[in-house]
Amino acid sequence: MTTADVLMLALGAVAVGAAAAVVTTRQIVRAGLWLVVALGSLAGLYLVLSAELVAWVQVLIYVGAVVVLLLFAVMLTRAPIGVSEDLDRSRWPGLLIGGGAGLGLAALLIDAYQWSTVDLADGAGAEEVGAAIFRSWVLPFEVLSVLLLAALVGAIVISRPDVSARVGR
């Protein structure tokens, strides 16, 4: 067992444990914070797989942006900070479906890959990712900017109190 293997296993365990904590804790803020741990350890896994760019993107976007947004949303909507009973609904169907899905997928992947090994020689470094984006995936990549524009317009339409209208009146 190499160091990488040990790291993989350890980070994996942390990710799973933190994820379980996210859905079991009764405090919404703690759930958000556990999410940071889970996503962070995922970033660690990427690092171990020598995909630095993906790892940093993961940290930047998920830990940096998404979770912060989530916490902001909690604060802005004045959601209860302490223990909230609403977060704890009948558990067993969730456990059944969620656990079933998780175990099933795990079994699936184990069955698919078993003991096969994958070379990490050409990982997902910045160069390769960049080249791929601007070579094969240039179209979807450009379209994504359109998506962002649409989302921006939408965000404005949904949330703006129209300044010009007020002035106009």
Binding site: L108, G130, F134, V143, G154, V157, I158
Partner: protein, 527 residues
């Protein structure tokens, strides 16, 4: 197109970044719409408030017409090619469906742009103002938001990309591009704003959930095939070195994402709520165009990437089709709201379309495409009628309010009767020819599953005729209620949309051959 080379300033690293070949002519319909949508955003920012609506409408109309012409041009050239590396497939189905989308988009745009029925149009001016507040009462008289036009164009361009996408990644991006504007459009109703916002939120959350399935399936398929292009998956299915379980689980997840969009049972739960809550013109747009796009994508996924797995697909998707037809038909019987009724009818229609799709034959493909076009016209016209029946609270959608409408407005009631008969599949309407085409195509295969599907299809369409006819009877035979809603005089736009819808429904019912022919000639995917 020539590739070009860039080098980092320090000249340390020089990667050869070659842009793939891009056939701009083939991408023109999408590019025109993207461009027009961006222009529309600028119009909203800079044009004076009074003239925005006119400019926006004209811009969108022109853009869609140009897109349609571009599609026609491309179809005349007869191009069949993969472009943008293999991200886009420009082939018969793509062009047919893009053309359908452009035409249906124009008709739906007429409804979206209609302002004669209500002062300021059917959309709210500022969605953020709390419902029922003083400001909300003030804005009741203000002009509606004109951002709906660029949003509609964004959605349509996404749909056009979706039916052309030849790999899962492009498809996913296109899916998001056309879904996001729809979520937003749903929230913008001028009347019954809370219902509208709730519908939008539900649609958004569930849509995101479905997208997650799609992307998860994509990951599994990548694990299986080492590529996300449909041709690659098709090849890998034959020479699989990895476990086929990955393929099937991936297929299942991707299918869930697509089945959500076409509103197949059990992924249909959002449909009635959203159809009911969204502004009716947006509902019309969704019912017609989303169905075309989502089915276009589903057909391509099934026919191009997974045709080798058809024996495994048939029982599973076949069961879903049966459930979809049954649930849609039976629950339509119990509805008391006309928009919800049409929502369940659209669910059942998704089932009939699946029957055609599962034929896995050229005929199945062509008949499903014909069905999409025919259904789109009818459903837009039906929702156009719904926008006309109004009372003080806006549209009167509860069925009891439609009682005796035939006496108030025989023409409108007559048109709606005709549309209901078309939905019921009465001969000499497009509803009959399109059902006949899909069922015929399914039986042409001559195997057990398609036959079973057709039998369920026939039986459920008989059940489904009942709620439609009930509406007809309600309109003509029942006594009008105390305060019956008035039928607004349709503006020019709504009249035009209605006319196109009704004429198409009639013509495709009596002389379907030209369009059937067109669909038949177009019905070949390239890989």
């Amino acid at each position: 197109m020539n590739g070009f080379t860039i080098a980092t300033p320090a000249q340390v690293l020089a990667i050869d970044v070659r842009l793939p070949d891009l056939d701009y002519a083939a991408m023109a319909p999408m590019l025109v719409l993207f461009g027009a949508a961006c222009l529309g955003v600028l119009v909203d920012a800079f044009a004076p408030r009074q003239s925005r609506h006119t400019i926006q409408f004209a811009l969108s109309f022109i853009a869609l017409t140009v897109a349609l012409l571009a599609v026609i041009r491309e179809a005349r050239v007869g191009s069949r090619e993969l472009t943008a590396d293999v991200a886009l497939a420009i082939d018969g189905p793509t062009l047919f469906l893009q053309g359908t989308l452009a035409v249906l988009g124009i008709v739906a745009l007429l409804l979206v742009g209609e302002r004669a029925l209500e002062k300021g149009g059917p959309f709210v001016s500022q969605a953020a103002i709390p419902v029922g507040s003083e400001a909300d009462r003030r804005q009741a008289r203000e002009e509606g938001a004109t951002e709906v036009f660029p949003l509609t164009l964004f959605a349509l361009s996404g749909m056009m990309l979706f039916v052309a996408a030849n790999d899962l990644l492009t498809m996913f991006v296109a899916l998001e591009v056309f879904s996001l504007p729809l979520y937003l459009l749903c929230a913008l109703a001028r009347r019954r704003r809370l219902v509208s916002q709730e519908a939008a939120l539900k649609y958004f959350l569930l849509g995101a959930f479905a997208s997650a399935f799609f992307i998860f399936g994509m990951a599994l398929l990548y694990g299986f095939a080492g590529t996300v292009s449909f041709g690659g998956i098709h090849d890998a299915a034959l020479l699989a070195t990895t476990s086929p379980l990955l393929l099937f689980t991936g297929l299942a997840m991707v299918a869930v994402g697509l089945l959500f969009k076409i509103a197949a049972v059990p992924f249909h739960v959002w449909t009635p709520d959203v159809y009911q809550g969204a502004p009716t013109s947006v509902t019309a747009f969704m019912a017609a165009c989303t169905k075309v796009a989502a089915f276009g994508g589903l057909l391509r996924v099934l026919y191009v990437a997974f045709d080798r797995a058809r024996w495994d697909i048939e029982p599973v998707i076949g069961t879903i089709a049966i459930l979809t037809m049954l649930v849609g038909a039976i629950l339509a019987v119990t509805q008391t709201d006309i928009k919800r009724l049409l929502a369940y009818s659209s669910i059942a229609n998704a089932g009939y379309l699946l029957v055609g799709a599962l034929a896995f034959s050229k005929e199945g493909l062509s008949s499903a495409m014909f069905y999409l076009a025919a259904y789109g016209f009818t459903v837009i016209a039906a929702f156009a009628v719904i926008t006309l029946v109004r009372d003080d609270d806006g549209e009167a959608t509860h069925l009891s309010r439609w009682a005796g409408l035939g006496r108030e407005a025989p023409l409108v009631a007559g048109v709606f009767t005709f549309l209901m008969l078309a939905f019921a599949g009465i001969p000499l309407t497009s509803g009959f020819t399109s059902k006949f085409a899909v069922f015929g195509a399914a039986l042409g295969v001559g195997e057990a599953w398609p036959v079973a599907l057709v039998i369920v299809g026939v039986v459920t369409s008989m059940i489904l005729a009942f709620p439609y006819l009930r509406v007809v009877v309600m309109m003509w035979l029942s006594e009008p209620a105390e305060q019956s809603p008035t039928v607004a005089i349709p503006g020019a736009f709504t009249s035009a949309a209605l006319m196109v819808g009704v004429l198409a429904t009639l013509l495709l019912g009596v002389f379907p051959s030209p369009v059937l022919d067109l669909a038949d000639r177009a019905a070949e995917f390239i890989r």
